[in-house]
Symmetry: C2
Subunit: 326 residues, 2 copies
Amino acid sequence: MAATEFEIIRRYFTRQQPAREDVIAGVGDDAALLRIPPGMELAACIDTLVAGVHFPAGTTAAAIGHKALAVNLSDLAAMGAEPAWATLSLTLPDNEPAWLGEFARGFFALADRHRVELVGGDITRGPLVITVQAHGFVPAGTALRRRGARPGDRIYVTGTLGDAGLALQLQAAADRALRARLDFPEPRVEAGLRLRGLASAAIDISDGLLADLGHLLEGDGLGAVIEADALPRSAAFLAGAGTAGTGEHSRYYELPLSAGDDYELCFTVPAQHCAAVEQRLAALSCGCRAIGMVEAGPGIRCRRANGEPYLPAASGYQHFAAHGHG
Amino acid sequence: MAATEFEIIRRYFTRQQPAREDVIAGVGDDAALLRIPPGMELAACIDTLVAGVHFPAGTTAAAIGHKALAVNLSDLAAMGAEPAWATLSLTLPDNEPAWLGEFARGFFALADRHRVELVGGDITRGPLVITVQAHGFVPAGTALRRRGARPGDRIYVTGTLGDAGLALQLQAAADRALRARLDFPEPRVEAGLRLRGLASAAIDISDGLLADLGHLLEGDGLGAVIEADALPRSAAFLAGAGTAGTGEHSRYYELPLSAGDDYELCFTVPAQHCAAVEQRLAALSCGCRAIGMVEAGPGIRCRRANGEPYLPAASGYQHFAAHGHG
């Protein structure tokens, strides 16, 4: 006999581990009851994963559980917020115990590393769609915002770019490290916390560097120059995409500029804070790299190390776009 | 050309009206930034509507927009929380402008009546699935909970029961008033606020009276007796379901006991507060009615006005149940 919604919640999503003390009521009432520490603002974001859109067929349940939370923690990281609570809405075609167990394992492994408590949710029968809302705290007035960059600010990214996009292109041929970047993206939470008070603006890279940097700049009517050869590329990326960076519209340039799903942070830093930022982030495994400069006029232009312009083929993933990747 | 996600958000989900002053950043950043008033706890809930599961095919976009928010405000009402903010995740097969416009109209008409600001969201291409998370405030320590009922407490419900269930059964033959109850359920927010400090426990009726009252009682190991003839039934319900209440398993009994989607509140009140509750809720259009009593042993039994037991056929909607309604 199939398990009811309540049995699923009890079996897979109710845990006995010590709960956060700011959770007055978690899973099991009509709503969660939560306490915000004094002096803190609440950061809240919601993001949905749809099978075939946000992850390829054949993605493991553990990876889906991880990623559904990771994309939201990435949004909190981009605000400089400290994660606290999550809610989960799970719509799924059946209640296969092995799938649910693996999904929960992937979700909670990441949640535990960031002290995130699952405080509520909803499970429904339907097409596979996973929505997570994450909540975090940020001391009043210190959140990193998309707006705030100024001409002359240096542009940085954490980690490496293009790995997830290459894994998506190579599919079964992708090596393990690339595939892990697509399936188990690591939200740059600690980097976001260390950027408070130093970065002038920040965003996470979900749709591709050019698209997301564009969102960061457009609110202030600004533009940028990007050093296309300075983009951080992993060893696995170079092994799979080739190092021949001269070819127009090669993977070497296109994926780091335009592929989504990397979930690195892109942020701007005034000149006087660059040394402090580089020092603070050097201690993290992801590190950071300067990749360009904010400019006064609108538009993002890319150039090669030899000074010649590089004209990208695509500008990032757009849902519902007539000619988008989807 | 099809609109992008950002154009959809700008066109349909960004508004110019005066925003709540506790919203520091709403739609348009990586996360919303929100301020909780001092002395308040945050109530947060998430609920998903799936086409064909939570609303029949042919439901208007305005009704879907309304209902997606209403089911969440109903959860806040059951906690005695005052609504404040919502986030929306919308997965939809295409971006038909007329559908989106009507959906937004239904959503915001209800949001405005409860001073709810939409502070964030996500729009994705995929099967039609709508997830809303609602947030509200409740003075610390005053939330209505599912647990807290005591033997001898009187059991009440707001409004009338069975209307939405009858509309679902009658489909096109349902009269306008019944259909409105299914499509545009009215969350009992004001009733929830007035129950603070008086009700010993509360829940909203989404899966059916017997199922939801069962959730309220089971945590404390309690039971109840329900007066099956005392259940509040609307004139439209009686006209459609028949008043002949003697038939075993008739709609007259079964729908108010077991049909979901009414989104009324069910709550328990200690004897000394019953007069105050009845007085406070009499001023609201929904009113309230006493329908039974909490008992010490587990199990819910129903009886007729003549004192004979009534044995219900079904006990409420269960997702994934082997013999559920779905």
